[in-house]
Symmetry: C2
Subunit: 155 residues, 2 copies
């Protein structure tokens, strides 16, 4: 058992933990981890069940979830019934960040709603809420321009 093997195995488990903390399942994280360090670019369903020592159902469910959010892309070959999977080269992390910023927008709107519901609009909490809203309004207005700088650097 080579050292390299253990490094990969560790990497896979670490990926599982990292994604678990992000709210994805540990198994989905493991799949991503394996897709990252596999020496093949395309990995079959069956290989995943074996390498990750997981049930077909778990792999199936998680692969589907990962495909839905387009983190993973299925790949097929003529004359081959299997489906292979790879890390989706279509993920645009800039797009992904933008989606995350939209969550911030939701939260900011919620803060506005909360502030509006307060009786005293001028106490410390209200002021803090107002400041918060002001900051996020600024952020949401300005971040596209920031992102554009990346587009300009790498068209």
């Amino acid at each position: 058992m080579k050292a390299e093997y253990n490094e990969r195995a560790n990497f896979i488990e670490e990926t599982g933990m990292i994604f678990e903390r992000l709210g994805v399942t540990r198994m989905a994280g493991r799949i991503l981890g394996y897709l990252m360090v596999s020496d093949k670019e395309h990995v079959s369903f069956d290989e995943l069940t074996q390498v990750l020592q997981a049930s077909k159902s778990s792999i199936s469910t998680n692969l589907k979830a990962l495909s839905n959010v387009e983190f993973v892309k299925p790949h097929t070959l003529p004359g081959d019934r299997k489906t292979y999977y790879m890390l989706s080269p279509d993920i645009d992390w800039r797009e992904y960040l933008i989606r995350r910023f939209e969550n911030i927008r939701t939260m900011n709107n919620h803060f506005k709603k909360g502030l509006a519901l307060r009786v005293n609009q001028k106490d410390e909490v209200s002021n803090w809420l107002a400041d918060t809203v002001e900051f996020y309004d600024w952020l949401l207005k300005e971040y596209p321009r920031f992102m554009d700088q990346w587009q300009m650097k790498r068209p």
Copy 2:
């Protein structure tokens, strides 16, 4: 039962749901929601158990967690044994965002590790990983400057 009352109640439950999706407990979210729309600035432990109809233990645990991450600040008065709680006016959302960016740094480092473990450094997946790393390297380098713009606008 006034319409206003229901709006507040709805707001509290929504806050619970929103924070639950962010990985905090629903009850912690409810506490934050109530602290946002309460007409008092400082709210007692006991009031929280009653308004949120939750057990003392649940309130205690969640208040402690919220205090630990400094979302909530305890407030005491001379001659009063109770502890009151408020939304912490000390939360600096800029600081908070910066902490979140540090998570991105962790992820980016993990990507680098994964890329290094790949056998073929020049296939599609490797290229995609390399591009991703490049984008995040740029982002992590540039975002402090972006944040400084806010500092300049609001010193």
